[in-house]
Subunit: 107 residues, 2 copies
Amino acid sequence: MGASKTHIFSLVQNELAQAAKVLAHPARIAILEYISRQENCICNDLVDVIGLSQPTISQHLNEIKKIGLLKGTFEGKNLCYCINQERWEELQYSFNAFFSNINQNCC
Amino acid sequence: MGASKTHIFSLVQNELAQAAKVLAHPARIAILEYISRQENCICNDLVDVIGLSQPTISQHLNEIKKIGLLKGTFEGKNLCYCINQERWEELQYSFNAFFSNINQNCC
DNA sequence: ATTTTATATTGCAATATTACGATAAAGCTT
DNA sequence: AAGCTTTATCGTAATATTGCAATATAAAAT
């Protein structure tokens, strides 16, 4: 097969997994960290900073965008990507809820 | 190519990505949630509860074990997997640190 | 000792991800 | 308009992941 059987899991489980998948690549972690340190983010910087090709960076940015973590606005000739604060906090809350719901009395 | 260029990223970035990768499948989310709800975990239950074949469940459990999230001990004839509390909290801390380090003054 | 039960491993097919060169598109600059 | 810069898309190759049938292993029960 190869494809995940997403239909046998709950929406919440699938959404958390989907979010985790976006964080499951060091380039995307690095991109998010970099954007968060900048006032503005010019994409071309990322190519230099991260050390991957421009198409690859573009693809990674797209993955991050897909789950709503980035807002993009144009500013002069360069595209300015920024963290979507609301979505970011939503995910932070989801991960934290997941990690907090653990029963300790076993073994 | 196809393989991730892990060597161009920091240890912390790679480790967080690695942990996220384990959470990046709804079956593994479901397995962790299920284990956390039980006093003991008999693996064979998981096959029924999750709805994937025994070899597939075994593989997923192995992925979870690889990053140290499970402790396993034998109890009678059944293997008992449990959440490794220390490691769990470590990851919770890592994710939370990542999510908390976001600069808001952009766009 | 043989059977039963539970878990792990192997091998393989289907699909997904990662990466990049080539090229396209879109907006400035002149 | 022509050229420059920046980002997106296409096409393709390499690798990784997901899933299961078949089989192996290991412990418990008979």
